[in-house]
């Protein structure tokens, strides 16, 4: 990825998190401890501050370094999880970046596996995995010949639907699980931040193409 492109992607991601800080925090207040907005903003600001350094690196290394930054700066549950996601995606990246949609899907799938392992969790527990898992699955099952625009549309739609589906779930992992039945009826904050990041990446890809 060209340095300017990576800078752009980082800036978009950090901007969408900052713009939705309040919303993430208020979702987390309802079924968690009210810090998801602050956590995500702290992490993505730290990544944004490193944008110049990261932009000079091969994409795989940049992702790993950004992941490590999240791990060291965020804390909480989202720090290790998003950090592991990016680190594993970076590690899974073939030299020269993903060749095609299948490459992107494989990279994401590797990241998702790392989140599952770190969180001892899977889809269905009302977490960020309820956005990430369906997304990875949708991209993996897309036809090899799918056009970029169609893949982007699929990603957006999948993330939105998956996010909405967390509302009716009962949390069994993370802080919301302590609420049991009372966690039902609220969107999961981590699922919301994942969806936001998916949209930022899609916007980026769309504008670039």
């Amino acid at each position: 990825m060209a340095p300017d492109d990576l800078r752009d992607l980082i800036a978009r991601s950090a901007a969408t998190i900052a713009a939705h800080e309040e919303e993430l925090t208020s979702l987390d207040r309802a079924i968690g401890d009210g810090d998801h907005g602050a956590n995500m903003k702290r992490g993505f600001s730290a990544v944004a501050e490193q944008a110049d350094a990261l932009a000079g690196l091969p994409l795989g290394e940049a992702l790993q370094k950004a992941g490590m930054t999240l791990i060291m700066k965020v804390g909480g549950a989202s720090g290790p999880l998003y950090g592991s996601l990016l680190m594993a995606m970076g590690k899974a990246l073939p030299d020269g970046g993903p060749a095609d949609l299948a490459g992107v899907a494989a990279m994401l799938a590797a990241g998702v596996e790392a989140v599952k392992a770190r969180g001892k969790s899977d889809a269905g527990a009302k977490t960020m995995l309820d956005v990430l898992v369906p997304l990875a699955r949708a991209l993996q099952s897309a036809d090899a010949g799918t056009a970029a625009a169609a893949a982007i549309a699929t990603a957006r739609r999948t993330a939105d639907e998956a996010l909405a589906a967390t509302r009716d779930m009962k949390a069994t992992k993370g802080r919301a699980s302590f609420l049991g039945e009372r966690s039902i009826g609220h969107l999961d904050p981590g699922a919301r931040s994942s969806a936001l990041l998916v949209h930022a990446a899609c916007d980026f890809l769309e504008d670039r193409s």
Binding site: T25, R29, I31, G32, D33, G34, D35, A38, N39, R42, I71, M72, K73, V74, G75, G76, A77, S78, G79, P80, L81, R118, G119, A125, T172, K173, G174, R175, S177, F178, L179, G180, R182
Partner: protein, 333 residues
């Protein structure tokens, strides 16, 4: 939101600086990365205890760093788990060659961050082990979910294991002891008002003027149920019965009773609650052998309290009574 602060960003550093200055005889404070270390390291070859967690629960954990208890504590942002770099630095500074024991409250964030630190420390000469505390009986226990939360019982685990480590118990023994104490411990909390996280600027939850939250978590997580405000005796009964149902103390067995303030409840009320809980225990034939009343594991400015009961035996009582000298707990030295 009304707080004695300068701005949101500096709260933790400014407060830690003050803690270090006020207790310079007991601790050394590192600000980058943030951790609190025993000023006088323990003897070589002994197990070092490292704990930590989100800030806002003070004196937990930094207030328990010192002889006979923790060797280091890592404070995270308010209600946010600390990060692995803090744990790594704290553990390396505290390591006395006898192994490292992490005492971790069972929250996804804390568990994962300490896990990453443990992975990074995999080749520490004495080894690394972890004790997870999950004493909050308000939450259903299940291996298929996150399980129960670690709350005020953590103080008891840290004190008892800290004493054993000081006496030279090895890493496996310390870990087993911590797990035993955790299992023998149950807690239940109640909130009369919400806490307010500084960065959020408003109360975490809204409680009506006649409501309370039974089984609240120490981050203002909702509990078992929202109920009408109850008299102290009924609150105590709800707490004692929920805990006994979970941990099943036997008549005659000595109990340690911790009546913990959430932060904003006056001492008068805490001692009144203590009295109610103590009487209910004795009505059940349980012997309250040791007591602790005060703010030990708080939730910022929340009004309310929690009750913790630990089933003790002679060996545990002896470790509980062993000398301790920290900012928040001191006896025997």
């Amino acid at each position: 939101m009304k707080k004695l602060i300068n701005g949101i960003d500096g709260i933790l550093s400014e407060s830690l600086r003050g803690f270090g200055a006020a207790h310079a005889d007991l601790v050394a404070v590192s600000l980058d990365p943030k951790y609190v270390l025993r000023a006088t390291p323990k003897a070589r070859g002994k197990v070092a205890l490292v704990s930590g967690g989100g800030s806002g629960h003070e004196p937990l954990h930094a207030g328990f760093v010192g002889a006979g208890m923790l060797d280091a504590a890592c404070p995270g942002e308010v209600f946010t788990s600390p990060t692995p770099d803090q744990m790594l630095a704290a553990a390396q500074a505290a390591d006395a060659g006898g192994g490292l024991l992490f005492v971790v409250k069972n929250y996804s964030g804390d568990v994962m961050n300490f896990e990453m630190a443990a992975e990074m420390l995999a080749d520490a000469p004495g080894g690394v082990a972890t004790v997870l505390t999950n004493d909050d009986v308000a939450v259903e226990d299940s291996t298929f979910s996150q399980g129960r939360r670690g709350v005020a019982g953590t103080v008891i685990v840290e004190k008892i294991v800290g004493a054993a480590a000081e006496r030279g118990a090895d890493l496996a023994a310390c870990q087993a002891l911590g797990e035993r104490v955790n299992k023998a411990t149950g807690s239940l909390g109640v909130a009369l008002t919400s806490c307010t996280v500084p960065a959020a600027g408003r109360p975490t939850f809204d409680l009506g003027e006649d409501e309370m939250e039974l089984g609240v978590g120490i981050h203002g997580e909702p509990g078992r149920r929202r109920v009408p405000l109850m008299p102290a005796d009924e609150i105590a009964e709800a707490m004692v019965s929920a805990i006994c149902e979970s941990t099943g103390p036997k008549p005659g067995e000595p109990l340690l009773l911790l009546l913990n303030g959430m932060g904003a409840s006056p001492q008068m009320e805490l001692y009144l609650m203590y009295e109610a809980a103590r009487r209910l225990c004795e009505d059940r034939g349980l012997a309250v052998a040791r007591s602790l009343v005060g703010n030990y594991c708080t939730s910022l400015d929340m009004a309310g309290c929690s009750l913790t009961l630990t089933r003790m035996d002679e060996a545990l009582l002896d470790l509980w009574d062993a000398p301790v000298h920290t900012a928040a707990l001191r006896w025997g030295m």
